[in-house]
């Protein structure tokens, strides 16, 4: 390995190294009680990964969108719509587990595909399309829920969600790995494998790298864009289902601002907002980095306003590191 390729590797996986650095810092600065390092306790690590799983699922979808040079601002609102949808369908309409979840996922998929179509066919920037999508999804969530949080109770009776739904929010694997984390892991692995093996992946990087050149060389740009936004909407809806089951409620105000956390995870993960460069693995590391950071700041009871400053600085630092990265 030449010196250059070592440097290139360091930059390429800056978020993984960043994650390692933050984990080491978390262990060093962790409060201790009776000699035990609180950060590394099994309960705490489970809390950390569970807390990032929703943002992580969204961020995987967001990575696809940003790889083609787009952005999706509607994911937080979509999460709220999906949370409301799950709660209303199962509790108020007494639907079963599978039909409810499937319908909610289809709503996310179709909503995303429509946004993709609007940006690809009409040629409106995805920032504008999804800004509008954000308002529309939030409005639909308010209408569907009558403007109120819909509480989820479990049981077989009327106005109770099937007990099988509750399993989605529970812990499993020796009682320690929460199901939301498993869902995140499956989504991440599937996305990584998908990007490795499918021809679609080449198209995606091509559209992000240079859309015009991609079109001229026969890449189905419109189809790629519609598919990418559909995936992003689908994953946001999945995160909304996970959100509802963890909080036993679907509220039209769920997920406000989550799109920004997801974008932050993608940026920290080293994916370029200009498109064409980045990876899902980086995003996973970026989401975990944010989660560990949130956790260690909270465990040390850092003032919530200072926490915002620190998180802002980390995002800037990650973006600045990318600028230093040599062109490959």
């Amino acid at each position: 390995m030449t010196k250059n390729s070592v440097v290139a590797t360091l930059f390429r996986f800056q978020s993984v190294f960043g994650l390692l650095a933050v984990v080491v810092a978390a262990i060093i600065f962790s409060p201790r009680k009776n000699g035990a390092i609180l950060f590394v306790s099994a309960d705490n690590l489970a809390n950390v990964v569970r807390a990032v799983s929703e943002i992580g699922i969204i961020a995987v979808g967001m990575t696809f969108v940003i790889l083609i040079g787009g952005i999706d601002l509607s994911v937080g609102a979509m999460l709220g719509l999906a949370a409301v949808g799950s709660a209303v369908l199962m509790v108020e309409s007494d639907w079963g587990f599978l039909p409810s979840v499937l319908l909610v996922l289809v709503i996310g998929l179709v909503f995303g595909a429509l946004q993709g179509a609007a940006t690809a066919m009409i040629g409106i920037q995805s920032f504008i399309v999804t800004l509008a999508g954000l308002q529309i999804a939030r409005g639909l969530a308010r209408i569907w829920s009558d403007g109120q949080g819909v509480a989820i109770a479990y049981g077989d009776g009327p106005n109770e969600a099937p007990a099988s739904f509750a399993l989605l929010g529970e812990r499993t694997f020796g009682g320690l790995v929460p199901i939301p984390v498993l869902i995140f892991a499956v989504v991440a692995v599937a996305a990584i494998v998908f990007l490795r093996v499918s021809a679609f992946s080449r198209h995606l990087y091509a559209v992000g790298g240079n859309e015009k050149a991609a079109r001229l060389s026969g890449v189905p740009v419109v189809r790629v864009k519609v598919a990418v936004f559909a995936i992003c909407g689908l994953l946001a809806a999945l995160a909304g289902i996970v959100h509802a089951v963890q909080l036993n409620q679907g509220s039209p105000n769920d997920g406000i601002g989550y799109e920004l956390d997801a974008i932050a995870a993608v940026v920290i993960g080293g994916t370029s907002l200009a498109g064409g460069r980045g990876s899902v693995a980086g995003t996973v590391a970026g989401a975990l980095l944010l989660g560990v950071l949130n956790n260690i700041l909270a465990l040390n009871n850092i003032d919530s306003n200072i926490q915002l400053l620190i998180k802002g600085l980390v995002i800037v630092a990650a973006a600045a590191l990318q600028r230093l990265r040599p062109a490959s």
Binding site: L38, D43, V49, A285
Partner: protein, 335 residues
Amino acid sequence: MRSVKIPLACAAVAAVVLAGCGTTSERTGGSPSDGAAKSCKGADGKYTIGMSQANVAEPYRQRMDDDIRAAAKEVPQFDVKFADAAQDNAKQVADVENYITQQIDLLIISPNEAKPLTAVVKKAFDKGIPVIVLDRKVEGDAYTGFIGGDNVQIGSEAGKYVAEQLLPDGGNIVELKGLAGATPQAERHQGFADAIKANPKLKIIAAADGDWLREKGQSQMDALLKANPAIDVVYAHNDPMAEGAYLAAKAAGREKSIKFIGIDALPIPSGGIKAVEQGRLSATFTYPTNGKEAVAAARKLLIDCAAVPKSQVLPTRLIDKSNAAQTYARENPAG
């Protein structure tokens, strides 16, 4: 370069999964029935208290934190930590979980919403941590004590005040409501509507949602003023909306012919007590933050090893011209 990607990607994912697979066993909580006795170490102990706030961006909740901070200063054994959920239920769940990890001695929580916070509050309670719930309740009974106000009663006092003091001969009322779907909004409305039935010549001629916000109160009032030439009293579900309505009326030159009443009466420069003192509002009704009472309860539980009532509902007080200056000086001596 692409070849390195898979192992690293897999490592990252493995980290996600493995992170949850530690070896330490779950700490088993003792009997939670008398949480007080378990963590009470008397006056010689040192206690870490975690305060989980729903959203400090609201002045009422900032004041609640400030009241807790001030009251805890008087108790040298107490060290209070603060977390802010910024109105996000999921963030507040994480905040409480982090407090559990830190093995705090007592939890004070002002929940963002009841249902989503119930499970994690129960988790803390079941681990033997005494829990004091402020302002909004959680479901079930897995907490040590609740301290809050009674919004129905506050609305009712406001209604009585309008019926007996402001408009004994009847008149037209406009109601500016809080955020639709919020429990306090429904309760403040219900109490008021029931109380003014005592005077059949009183009528609520219009109502609008002001979402608790000053600017929304102002813009809603702009429209209501145009539509209603005869308004005698504006009843707003909180002080900021009442202030906004006052500004709208002033812009229309009608502020002298309308009386404004609000709720909350925060003893801060931008709060309702000052507005009453300075003559913009006729009256406001206190909605206590209970920060001081929460610290007193913590003291009882941890230092005196005594029990606290399961539910304490603090009464509201009328603040009008006669007692505004004096109340402000007492509750906020610093200014």
